[in-house]
Symmetry: C2
Subunit: 436 residues, 2 copies
């Protein structure tokens, strides 16, 4: 059978990784797929650079539409990124009857419903293993490996940049801004790191996982997103004293009232395997009712790890290339006509426990006042740590770990505590998850 | 479309888990598979007990052949175990044109080539996610998720019983025999634990993973197998002092000369994620040339975790049930006509590093003699730990960590060291892997 012909739209880091791995491992891949898989056409604005990567055997064009219009191309791989031209091109490729593989989490998290509907109507596949956690086959695990389960929750370290920063902050006791500069110098953070450090990238990925896990449409606009820019080294140290690590987690959880979808710095017990995932590595924990806890770990970014995921999708499509569309595995794990309209809950209705740090006046009755407010709001306390104030010091840090509560209640209590004259600075509150 | 009809052969722990999870999550599973999946027939020697599990809606028979002969049954799930009647029934089911799902690692590791060939000839699928690492979708990761990669090696904690025992030995400083009794009392070890503690079960699973990773036939008879029965608490303590944990690993590795396939207690750096997998949990590390290191963690046994894997296979088959056989994902990841005859290397040709414990006379020149023998055999030393001998004591423990060497050389050196009059007891040697 003649090889499957692949057209790449964009040949940057991931594109060149995809090209090189497909070449280097072509024999192994053919032995698995039953058919060769070849990049025969590449579109990139920088035609010269593209040609220097792929050599003479591959047709290089400046206009992506030439790839889409080429009847010999079976699969279009979109590696342009962003919501703009990438969206137009993906929809055009689908309309032209091409299967699409993409690493574009932003595009799918925001415009996924439109794109998946178009693909379903046309009978083609949109595959996106590379969009979440790089080379870790977590999309496949959710879509196929855990189909027996009612998924209860997912919690993942799904942004390498922020995990690198948090690891360095903890190990070296440095502040966020210092470590960010170091991360940029080392290439772990981009020149404009906003999407990473503000949690947007993680929220794109969490949105995709929530759809795969719960059979709901992708709803990025409903995600609650907090990054790590305000995190202080002090809180990392207090957390450690209490047996916790702070990680930026993407969390999605099924509750009776709806689905939680949130990204924020989170205290997790230091003894959990995922708490020990350091540096730029990624890991995702999935809790299913039958399987219990499973964890998936690996490199979440980089040229060849991401290419590994792109090519896995290419092999999947190749294995099924000539099957009729009814036999394809549904893009979002659930059949398109079986999606549910379970609501995503607002953050005020989220159930979690909290870490609170209050800078309080070191005088009698303060603890009683504060714990009284928590009790009045029905929030019970799991642990208290009060730093011994230095001689002559008139203030101290009071750390409180709460049991699980509704976020709305905690915020009401927080406002009342903040208003106390004995609370001397803005209260720091961080969410805490046991992941048990 | 009418539901896919499943017949269970054997309804013990995994069978009843499969039945219950399919019932409990039938809606979710139908939303994913696009079709209902129902157990409509069960064969078990204990018909009464079987009926008490499945109730009146399911046909229960004593003779498995009635299930196989039933034209309404689409998929036969073999949960009998062992090489005997299970083999006959699986081959008969294939001959009858049924897809087969099995958790039987022993059967596939020993008779897999015959079974997969029969299935291929008949155009049916034999799926076995449940055969390795219980609910962890590791077969799927190897067969589909990592298809871009030239797999370099796999190392897995793939037997929960032995990992529980090793965890307890380390945490409590107890000897093997004491912990084994405790494990039996708690249900973590069977009354006859031979297959677990001697490493046979792990070797079955490692054999299957070696075939999936390297595209070779299953060759259980070539696996080198050592269990944990001779492991001493003392060596676990010394390993810990040197920064290592001892785990029973199933290892398969690609080398230029051939493939390593071995199960044995192994020192691994305590800082590796897999070194921190405790109790009855399983974890598998896979090293691919593109993706780098990935790790998969979860419950390796138990009723519902194993059922999770059985049902994932049922959903896979259901999604492709009416596709023609050419579109099926190959059972062993590689196309049946693309298997390689790369040899499995004998243990003497394995490359690894070693932990050696020698009980030596506490006199001048002993260390020089021993290190001289290692040097003569071309084995270089990574670290030495010599316990300070107590006052009046005439002997001491000498611990040596070697760099990587060929096992044959190490054994030659070991024989020479053992023959020294200053070496007072049998030398303890354990393999060590950095997993980097």
């Amino acid at each position: 059978m003649k090889p499957i012909q692949v057209g790449l739209l964009g040949i940057g880091t991931v594109g060149s990784g995809t090209f090189h791995v497909l070449q280097r491992n072509q024999q192994e891949i053919r032995r698995r797929a039953g058919r060769g898989i070849e990049v025969t056409m590449v579109a990139d604005l920088d035609v010269e650079r593209a040609r220097s990567i792929v050599g003479d055997g591959v047709r290089v064009v400046g206009d992506a539409r030439e790839v889409i219009a080429n009847p010999d191309i079976d699969i279009v791989v979109e590696l342009i990124g962003g919501y703009g031209v990438a969206k137009t091109l993906v929809l055009e490729a689908i309309a032209a009857g091409k299967h699409v593989v993409t690493a574009n989490k932003a595009l799918l998290a925001v415009h996924g419903s439109e794109i998946f509907a178009a693909a379903h109507a046309k009978g083609v596949t949109v595959a996106f293993e590379a969009a979440v956690a790089g080379g870790i086959p977590i999309i496949k695990a959710l879509r196929e490996g855990l189909t027996a389960n009612r998924i209860e929750w997912i919690a993942g370290i799904i942004n390498g940049t922020t995990n690198f920063i948090l690891s360095e902050m903890r190990e070296k006791g440095l502040d966020f801004s210092v470590v960010l500069k170091e991360a940029q110098r080392l290439g772990y953070a981009e020149a404009d790191p906003t999407f990473d450090i503000e949690g947007v990238d993680a929220a794109h990925k969490a949105t995709l996982m929530s759809a795969l896990a719960f059979g709901i449409p992708v709803q990025f606009d409903k995600a609650h997103i907090e990054g790590i820019t305000k995190l202080q080294a002090l809180d990392i140290r207090y957390a450690e004293q209490l047996g916790y690590r702070i990680k930026l987690l993407g969390i999605t959880k099924r509750r009776e009232e709806g689905i939680e979808l949130r990204v924020h710095p989170t205290l997790i017990p230091a003894k959990r395997l995922i708490a020990n995932v350091e540096g730029a590595m990624n890991a995702v924990v999935v809790q299913g009712d039958a399987v219990g806890t499973t964890l998936y770990y690996g490199k979440g970014a980089g040229s060849e790890p991401t290419a590994s995921a792109v090519i896995a999708d290419l092999v999947d499509i190749t294995r099924l290339a000539t099957a009729d569309p009814d036999h394809r595995v549904p893009s979002l794990a659930f059949q398109p006509d079986a999606l549910a309209d379970t609501p995503i809950l607002p953050i005020s209705q989220v159930q979690t426990s909290f870490y609170l740090r209050l800078q309080v006046a070191d005088e009698a009755g303060v603890l009683a006042e504060i714990t009284g407010i928590l009790a009045d709001n029905g929030i019970s306390i799991d642990a208290v740590l009060q730093r011994e104030s230095a001689e002559g010091e008139k203030q101290t840090d009071l750390i409180i770990l709460t049991h699980e509560t509704q976020e709305g209640r905690l915020r009401a209590a927080e406002a009342k505590m903040q208003a106390l004259p004995t609370v001397l600075a803005p209260i720091v509150s961080l969410r805490k998850e046991e992941l048990a």
